[in-house]
Symmetry: none
Subunit: 113 residues, 2 copies
DNA sequence: TATAATTGTTTGCGTAATGCGTATGAAAGT
DNA sequence: ACTTTCATACGCATTACGCAAACAATTATA
């Protein structure tokens, strides 16, 4: 399940020791992840994704997309600044769009059934 | 960490029991995930993401800590990726949003004059 | 070549966390 | 009032995590 870890690490020319040090865990612990002997805790998994600057889904082999995406729901909850035509996007504008797109997606899914 | 689970479930009008049944686990087990009392195994996590048709990153509330300002027009032109509910935002969805918001802003400006 | 240093692999063990059944409480339906 | 559904909490057996340490394998340095 975590076969991609070895590639992510080797592409950075890091040893198991160095990777473990960067994660703040024991070498044998991280080695266990790569070998499939053990599974990381969710906390460790998040730190690994941060370290390799990719998504958890990519690490778990759930997608081929390495790119991290900016989640709009997150933008609503926090103060991440989006702008359109140089004008800051209000929460209301974003909220309307989220509702709008969710509705559109639901309709699309229904049509396909 | 798994605060989004309750919303994902409730937006589908599922009970804890029904969700647990769909996942093939005990109700108390799934309830433990939502309450934060327990953490799912990676296998369970993947099944949950599949059930709710979203990403593991979204379920884990993983935030990319880029605090930079993002211009939506640039998102259209480049490959800066947005997502909604853990599902990648298509260019078409983003384009509709831009047109929609521009129109709304124009109407609002006219009203204020 | 010999030797040290670095890297990768595996094991044993103490501890912590999981997952289930079950019990309890709350809310809703008949 | 009574039953049914729903949500939450607890006890406990089992699993498996994370670490240190030992071991093997590769590379570096003299």
């Amino acid at each position: 399940m975590l076969q991609r870890l070895a590639n992510l690490r080797k592409s950075r020319n890091w040893s198991l020791q160095e990777t473990a040090d960067r994660l703040g865990i024991a070498k044998s612990t991280y080695a266990g992840y790569e070998s499939g002997y053990r599974q990381p805790s969710l906390q460790a998994l998040l730190q690994i994704a941060n370290l390799f600057e990719t998504t958890v889904d990519y690490i778990l082999n759930r997608t081929n997309d390495k790119q991290e995406k900016l989640e709009l729901v997150e933008c609503l909850e926090s103060e991440i600044a989006l702008s359109l035509d140089g004008i800051p996007l209000t929460k209301e504008e974003l909220y309307d769009f989220i509702a709008f797109t969710r509705l559109k997606r639901r309709i699309k899914n229904n049509d396909e059934e």
